[in-house]
């Protein structure tokens, strides 16, 4: 199992930033990783004259259960993307999700809008609005304030450097 990387970001008196990182064993519960980061943050900070501005842990996910293409198509380009905008219908908070290398064959005819009737588009909308339920637990997309995304309001093709 791959190790988990813990990242500590520091900023000095001139505003320069640098990231200190080390790895910890894989397979830990997220709650244990969170508790570890809280303890380790003080220990690492006590060694540094800079300000600790953030700490995070990166856990590699296993996508081997997914059926994914292994070769990019002739027309794929990271500049071409689909900007998906969703919101929480009650709180009115929005979230954005961009898909690099979007294939515009999924657009409605003569439009830069994704075709809502397209099966693949509908599948993506369902996952983003309803999440995925596994063993009684539903994992859902949320806004930066933690409100669930329950309404996809826009899906438009864009061209932008990532």
């Amino acid at each position: 199992m791959l190790a988990t990387t813990v990242n500590f970001t520091f900023r000095d008196s001139k505003g320069k930033e640098s990231v200190y990182r080390h790895r910890i064993s894989g397979g830990l519960l997220p709650s244990d990783i969170y508790a570890y980061m809280e303890s380790a943050a003080q220990i690492v900070k006590n060694m540094s004259a800079a300000e600790l501005t953030g700490v995070s842990a990166s856990v590699s996910l296993d996508l081997s259960a997914s059926t994914l293409k292994t070769v990019a198509t002739q027309f794929s380009d990271v500049v071409n993307g689909l900007l998906v905008i969703g919101r929480n219908a009650v709180a009115g908070l929005f979230a954005k999700f961009k898909l690099p290398t979007y294939d515009d064959a999924n657009n409605a005819d003569n439009s830069d809008l994704a075709d809502a009737a397209d099966t693949d588009i509908a599948t993506l909308v369902a996952i983003l609005e309803d999440g995925n339920t596994n063993a009684g637990i539903t994992t859902r997309a949320v806004t930066t304030r933690g409100e669930v995304v329950d309404d996809i309001t826009s899906m438009r093709e864009i061209f932008r450097k990532s």
């Binding site: 990231v19 993506l124 637990i137």
Partner: protein, 176 residues
């Protein structure tokens, strides 16, 4: 938790150019919608289903996915930069794993008083340094769960090879 955890996907197009996107996620009890602490099987299942849905809409390939857990530093004391703080002045540590592999760790803006005069060596007996070395070599006990530092392959760190002050460009790198 202080901020939302998120999934980062990395993509690659036909020219091997790469891009990433990210999505904040949380877990809930399906029956009543109550928030539930995240577990890796649930996060992984969601990431896999979403990856498959996205794959049908893109021309590029999905190279990998990472779950990022955002920690809380609000309880860290003394967390200000001193006037002389410089992230290019690093504490360079080298550790050895149980299998004898070397692992490097660089602490930015190492506090000058932790460095022994004229030698450039970091005083391993200083309280802050000893606590750091204990964390790296022995781990942190979370009340029954011992979390230990490892190399990239998951081999535990076991001993300190050296601890020295060095200078280098900060060169901020990828953080996920």
């Amino acid at each position: 938790m202080s901020a939302q955890n998120y999934i980062v996907y990395e993509y690659e197009d036909r020219m091997q150019r790469r891009a990433t996107n990210q999505l904040n996620v949380k877990t809930f009890v399906a029956a009543d919608g109550e928030e539930f602490p995240p577990t890796m099987p649930h996060i992984n299942a969601f990431a896999s289903v979403l990856a498959e849905a996205v794959d049908g809409l893109i021309g590029g390939i999905i190279r990998r996915a990472t779950y990022v857990i955002v920690g809380d530093i609000s309880g860290v004391t003394g967390n200000v930069a001193s006037d002389s703080a410089d992230v290019e002045e690093i504490g360079a540590f080298q550790f050895r794993t149980l299998d004898g592999l070397k692992v490097q760790a660089n602490v930015p803006a190492i506090i000058e008083t932790l460095v022994t005069n004229e030698t450039g060596n970091i005083n391993q007996a200083a309280t802050a340094v000893a606590a750091y070395l204990a964390m790296m070599e022995d781990g942190i006990d979370l009340g029954g769960t011992l979390v230990r530092a490892t190399d990239v392959g998951g081999d535990y760190l076991d001993a300190t090879v050296y601890a020295r002050e060095r200078s280098r460009n900060s060169g901020k790198r990828r953080q996920y």
